[in-house]
Subunit: 319 residues, 2 copies
């Protein structure tokens, strides 16, 4: 059993068990977790964080499995954090995927873990950022975050990543339309997996049209589309070299560094909000007046906006 | 032009323009908006709020169009709030849908509006709840909220609705798996639309299996599955009578009333959080010390958790 103060040192020595414990403490909003994060923070700043998003069934886990192997061949340390509830890591498992991914679990250069979507504090990025600091300090070179994409969950996570891969498959049909609603804007690379299927070119054409309608991209350069067949390990090298290319691209680009800080700042605002709400709530729950307000709400004697405004105005008095 | 104080009265008289202005003011966090909400609140408590979710292309708008017509035939007032960015109301339009829905716009017993997904304050339920209070006070009997479903967006909205319809279509294949990740648990009724397609029974069987694996439902009674072909107005009557049946079911059920307040309470917690964060942020932005903290963050001299903890501990001192 590890003593609490040893966690940071143990993690820095490559102890994956200690890393897991620190991440858990941050998830649970334990003070020791943040103390440890503070010790680890000076060692961070090297990891390249990649978000992988796409619908369930697109083959995200299989692709990540191939990418782990490819980066390991280049002597890179690789970590995977799974937020997607349908991921085999988080538990929505297909047996085949689980067995496949398993071969990496014992490799000391690979760290794989799921991130709880409901922790002590709201928002999955709360715990994910903590995990990234731990893994970055432990010198994991590449960290993948696997999400189910689309909507708020995907957007929250996009604050934490430096590059976003969007996975599609042939025959998605109407589901491709769903991509428009959120993921299209954040994609730095599109991957069309299961590209051995006959209608692959249809999806590729469709994506090309969507990309052409979109503004931005790599500041002028539209994101590429790469075809893969992950179950046969096909196209993986192309993905790896595109990741490397993108990594160097943003390193050399002031605008990218600026937008990286912009995202860090938005994450910081999120932290302030969560901590404030947590502190206020703990305080309120002990108050008699608060119980009376809740009673009013329950009896529909006053609308929720009025009660909330009143409470905040009384409670938070700025110096 | 309406004078500000007349909004509540105008809305109560059925003025849809006034209703739209109040909703806009709540979206923008304007004090007048909340004053108006306060006046309207005593008139609320009658509307039945129904969430409709499903992937883009499933025919949500066409189905809602049919349901509007069906409820209007029964002399019910109907409102629709669209949050789904792919909805023809919010703008992700297919021309056909737009024209179709248009026939209801001039009907004084029908209110149709989109809800902005990024307002002054975070979270779409902030504005949606305001809109519900306005429309409920105006005696709209049935209010539909159209969302793109899956994940956090869907979960936020589920706090505001009394019944959730989940729309599927034949041939969804892998996308059906995605339903597992969030929407399956909240469904009170499944609708398989485009049921003239050959592989309809396959989806129905698949859903039945998923329902059987699930706990809960109408406290023992599993949700029904209804087949519709909305473009031909087929199956709509079945949906309407199931909605009515469910409405009476929860009225007569103490447990349902309890869980309705539970959801109201969770929405209230959300309001407290948003208001607190907003107030704190306005204060911080004017402070010199805060600028120094941000500078530390930018230079990576201190981790975001430590800075945020420090700020909150100094700023919020409980009496």
């Amino acid at each position: 059993v590890l003593k609490k103060m040893d966690y940071a040192e143990e993690a820095l020595n490559g102890n994956k068990l200690a890393a897991g414990r620190i991440i858990k403490m941050v998830e649970d909003n334990e003070a020791t977790g943040f103390e440890t994060i503070k010790h680890l923070y000076p060692y961070t700043g090297n990891a390249f964080v990649i978000g992988i998003t796409g619908p369930p069934g697109a083959g995200k886990s299989t692709l990540i499995d191939c990418l782990i192997a490819a980066f390991r061949k280049n002597q890179k340390k690789v970590a995977v954090l799974a937020i997607d509830p349908s991921s085999p890591i988080t538990g929505g498992a297909l047996l085949g995927d689980r067995i496949r991914m398993k071969r990496h679990y014992l490799d000391p250069g690979v760290f794989i873990r799921s991130i709880a979507t409901r922790g002590a504090l709201g928002g999955v990025s709360w715990s994910t950022k903590g995990a990234l600091i731990v893994l970055d300090a432990m010198k994991y070179d590449v960290i993948f975050i696997e999400t189910a994409g689309v909507g708020q969950l995907g957007a929250d996570i996009s604050l934490l990543v430096q590059m976003t891969l969007v996975l599609c498959i042939p025959g998605m049909g109407d589901a491709l339309q769903a991509l428009k609603a959120g993921t299209l804007e954040i994609a730095d690379l599109f991957i069309v997996n299961k590209a051995d299927r006959p209608d692959t070119d249809e999806v590729v054409n469709h994506l090309e049209n969507m990309i052409n309608l979109r503004e931005g991209g790599w500041h002028g350069h539209p994101p590429r589309i790469i075809k893969t067949t992950a179950v046969e390990n096909k196209g993986i090298d192309d993905v790896v070299s595109e990741i490397d290319r993108y990594r160097y691209y943003i390193k050399d680009n002031d605008h990218s560094m600026e937008s990286m800080f912009e995202r860090e700042y938005r994450f910081f605002r999120f932290l302030i909000k969560e901590l404030a709400a947590d502190k206020i709530w703990r305080h309120l729950e002990g108050l008699k007046e608060f119980k009376m307000s809740i009673d009013k709400l329950k009896k529909r004697q006053e609308d929720p906006y009025s009660i909330a405004h009143k409470i905040i105005n009384e409670l938070i008095k700025m110096p």
